[in-house]
Point group: C2
Chain length 734, copies 2
Amino acid sequence: MESRGLLHFLFILITTLLLFLFTKAWFNLIPNKSDLLNCSNYSPWCTSKNRFQSKSSNNLFYHSNEKSIQDHKTHIPHHPLDPLTIQEMNRAKSILLSHPPFTTSSSFTIHSLVLEEPEKALVLKWRKGDKLLPRKASIIALLHGQIHLLIIDLESNKVINHELRETKTGYPTMTIEDMNSAPWAPLSDANFNRTIVSRGVDLADLACLPLSTGWFGTKEEKRRLIKVQCYTMQGTVNFYMRPIEGLTVLLDMDTKQVVEITDLGIDIPIPKASNTDYRFFKQPNKPLMMRVMNPISIEQPKGPSFVIEDGHLVKWANWEFHLKPDPRAGVIISQARIRDSETGVLRNVMYKGLTSELFVPYMDPTDAWYFKTYMDAGEYGFGLQAMPLDPLNDCPRYARYMDGVFTASDGTPFIRSNMICVFESYAGDIAWRHAESPITGMEIREVRPKVNLVVRMAASVANYDYIVDWEFQMDGLIRVKVGLSGILMVKGTPYDNLNKVPNNEKLYGTILSENVVGVIHDHYVTFYLDMDVDGSDNSFVKVNLVRENTSPEEGSPRRSYLRADRNIAKTEKDAQIKLKLYEPSEFHVINPTKETRVGNPVGYKIVPGGTAASLLDHLDPPQKRGAFTNNQIWVTPYNRSEQWAGGLFVYQSHGEDTLAVWSEKDRPIENKDIVLWYTLGFHHIPCQEDFPIMPTVSSSFDLKPVNFFESNPILRMPPNLEKDLPICKAAASA
Amino acid sequence: MESRGLLHFLFILITTLLLFLFTKAWFNLIPNKSDLLNCSNYSPWCTSKNRFQSKSSNNLFYHSNEKSIQDHKTHIPHHPLDPLTIQEMNRAKSILLSHPPFTTSSSFTIHSLVLEEPEKALVLKWRKGDKLLPRKASIIALLHGQIHLLIIDLESNKVINHELRETKTGYPTMTIEDMNSAPWAPLSDANFNRTIVSRGVDLADLACLPLSTGWFGTKEEKRRLIKVQCYTMQGTVNFYMRPIEGLTVLLDMDTKQVVEITDLGIDIPIPKASNTDYRFFKQPNKPLMMRVMNPISIEQPKGPSFVIEDGHLVKWANWEFHLKPDPRAGVIISQARIRDSETGVLRNVMYKGLTSELFVPYMDPTDAWYFKTYMDAGEYGFGLQAMPLDPLNDCPRYARYMDGVFTASDGTPFIRSNMICVFESYAGDIAWRHAESPITGMEIREVRPKVNLVVRMAASVANYDYIVDWEFQMDGLIRVKVGLSGILMVKGTPYDNLNKVPNNEKLYGTILSENVVGVIHDHYVTFYLDMDVDGSDNSFVKVNLVRENTSPEEGSPRRSYLRADRNIAKTEKDAQIKLKLYEPSEFHVINPTKETRVGNPVGYKIVPGGTAASLLDHLDPPQKRGAFTNNQIWVTPYNRSEQWAGGLFVYQSHGEDTLAVWSEKDRPIENKDIVLWYTLGFHHIPCQEDFPIMPTVSSSFDLKPVNFFESNPILRMPPNLEKDLPICKAAASA
């Protein structure tokens, strides 16, 4: 050590000691072993205190949790796509530990340990009662800076594949331990502690977040990096509203060394705590100035109409599908099939549907914000961030819940209770109707109520909450809905009023409260939809609505009308779709070998709803990495290795392995096993109503049968009659 | 009469006599007086038989109908915007009959008799308990080909205004009697009867529709015209699926004279009746191949949480608004106000919202189809076509219903029972949520269920059913949703299979069943939204999201980001908006004189959802008449006379009095009382699932608070607890 280095070391030591003496909360702050366990147990967002009361229903959750741990230990797989059980995970881990180089090193981390799904062809052939297909585990591990991809055969107890991958195209999803340890690391740095204290923040009140760095050039290469930004919890659990603005710590994620501290916001006050707590029991004890609401509930006294067979096979009305939790995607729907209500035939619609990636670029190019261009699935694990659902509030009364079983970075399984719910929804909507005038001879009024089946998860990726619904409708439609709620990521500002902001000063957002700016950002959620419409080989057809001008010879009083042109996409580039209001099209996935009775190809169409498109420069590093959002729709030939739109390894990726890159290969897609990709977008200019917690904003798209059925598949569905409805009394009167 | 005319007359006479002898159903066919009454009583779609059983719930409807007639006779108005009561309508009629020229003529027809709303300023000042503002009736009547506009003061019993209007800009909405008598008129024409019989259709099975002609030039000028096309009811109530293709009768609507018969489809077979009936009791007695559905219901054992005061004032949660049925618009929402849940102040949001016009152009330029470019509100009366809702199927259990009171063409009032329903909807959705990891110290999972209040009507404009929902949410959002269901207007075709259609032959649609083509068409529904955000004087602000490229001096690793530019629309042309995915904007209606605590202008934004734009040639006569669909958004200064986007007189209009024409005046709209117009569009390429009745397709747009509240207005809303939910048992077990 050089003398200069020694001086530096001594300075840090002394500063730390001083801090030790003058900071009352030091003992609370140092994460002792049991705290770490407590805090590290699968929680990415670590805070330094454990002082918050849970409401009573959480106790319930813990009860069910303990019970479900016992249940899960005895689970066995029933279906080729069932996720790994606890036993299988433990087996995979022990096989890995007997496989070099993992036998001799304890310094590896497991970033993914999930089922290696059998070949699609085998799954499609498999029938209940058949012998289960060979069970395999897929492991992604990091060891000495290298990515290991392993496939383990759980029958032969052998590693049957072992590949090394370059890290230059990106790193695997962070482990929970990565996310959990990073926020503590800056505390070892005296400069960091000093600036915190100098800003008037008690270190005991500190809450820090692990923020993925993205990739912007050589600075973000050759090592795993993460940024940490902090907040104060003083006076509120909603620390997100109290940013310590401009302070960013760049860490080496593996060594936990502070690489760089940027401290630019020293003059920016920390916004006040008042009015930020959103918990019910913390609300001011004054009347809510609105009419009292009577209880309202979706009631099904005979219970729900669906079953979940063997833990994962959902059967409801005319639908059947396999449902499982996944640490990266959240929810995976497999083999969605619909029974033709007339013929009784169970027909394939979609082999696999999942949330492939999210892309959330913030619109502020300054130091503490430019890198905020999150990819929540590939960087954080969308499923890992899915928290237990709150019965009666997240999902209605007759919901059933499914747990996730995931692994920690050492391969130890853990259970995420109540991660997914399944329920029937009736909102008072109408499935179909027709009335003729009731006073005439044609006394017809035929109406059918609309009941849907919803599969829901809610991922809390730090501040934001994403609610993802897969809604199955009896008419064959699948609606995929994304709801955004939770808490904004906000920026501290010197201004407490918009009128005080100099005209030439950019806020990059909206003042939401005194000294709080909600920064403009986008959300893109990209879905992988492996459509198998009546079989695996399908074609993608653009049905373009085009204005046709009439010719004088036609003699029509009309000058124009719309005609529908069918254009079959031959290769991938034909299916790179930018939606245009004034160049409208329908987008069909058809089975070119199957026709209806009257000769139409059977198909499903994807129907976009309200959406947004990314406008960032295609050469901007975040947009290069998020290039899968360059179009709203893409179609690729089925390829096992192409499931994650941002690439398998998204963390610090350069954008070299995205859907946009694959699609440029321009492979044939006609009459092939094809995958449809859809990106649902939101522009979000925050407003004061989003403070301190955001009312849910939703958007959706539909997969809708188009000449898939010979006629309306719910024609013969019965109407509601008074005698069918439950008899209810108020609970309070019981 | 010339000898040639005499011969022609004799020929018709003899043919008619022959038909009399050989047509078994003649006696059923001739509409005798009581039949006419039965059939004409406010039913636009007349059919020649009265042979259909009603299901038991319809009897219920008649009961409530008789009761409600008694109720309505004693109704008195309570609010300045309350619709005319039966007594007031009768008074207005008698005053009219004592006013020249209506004293001496019985040949006038009343096309509209509704409340003349008081001046907006007076209504805004009026408070409950104040003397009711002077009640006035507005009458539109036709007499000897002239349009009379009258305003009658119901206190002084005097006509206080009487104007004559030119008919060249269009005729008033048809009366029910117009619509009802037109379909019978062709039966007086022997050629018509002959062609019907020659196509193998029993005249007793005939069902004919009155179709507005539109305007395509001099042919459709100087007299009221209507076209009639017919179907056979043989074997089905769903006659719409059995068109007598290519036969169009042009009638003079006033004289009921046949102007022209076009008979082009003689070789086109009438599609078969099988599989077209949609009534439940007529469905084949075979099992539906799907899992049994258990009953499901929205239950509120303590009853709904809203009240409807004085018949029209709806109060729910933080919302209050005036609700009334209207013969033209269907539903009118007035004075929508929301109570700030923190301050208790009731704040104005929207003075008036209504469905201003519909435009439904079909995309087939041939003789029997080119003119099908309907404007359902101005031509048919969207409210007149709103049929009674079916309890438990159209609206859930705890819905309350509101009747419409309208007048027949002689001014006699009648009641449209259960025309509107109001109910609370809970679909299992989430109003807001946030979870922190449940295992860490931050044991937070706060979720609020989402309950909405829905106002619904369903108009059956012949075949199509439009479901219009005004959905009020507690977070201040108003969602306006349009659902399309009912039955397609289809075209007969010689082909029973797509593969038999010669390549160069245009179908203008999809083969839905043997010999049935579903013709491509669009739907546009244009809403009038008189926004009064915290007061009448508002501004329209385009918040454009624009890509900003960073400059090298900024030193940002980012190349681009989005910034929000606020552009206040100065005049109407600044607010002619075509939505563009790649040029995104938010559209705010703000109050420029009111700011939030932190300096943001208070506002509401209009948030489009999925929509479609009209692509027709702007010079095409239908598009000229429907020019209000040329943009998705318009803003005009408030003007009492500009409420109907297609003009006050839409029937056979030339497009000289539309929203597009008014907007070209380019009047100032900044800090003025402004009206926002939004058009929701659908392209509809029919598919087999739409046969024989269509599953509902919906789209919507939102009016959403944007810095209207200081913070999330539902922050303090309580969560659901088990003890709040009802205790229910199955009805069958009772």
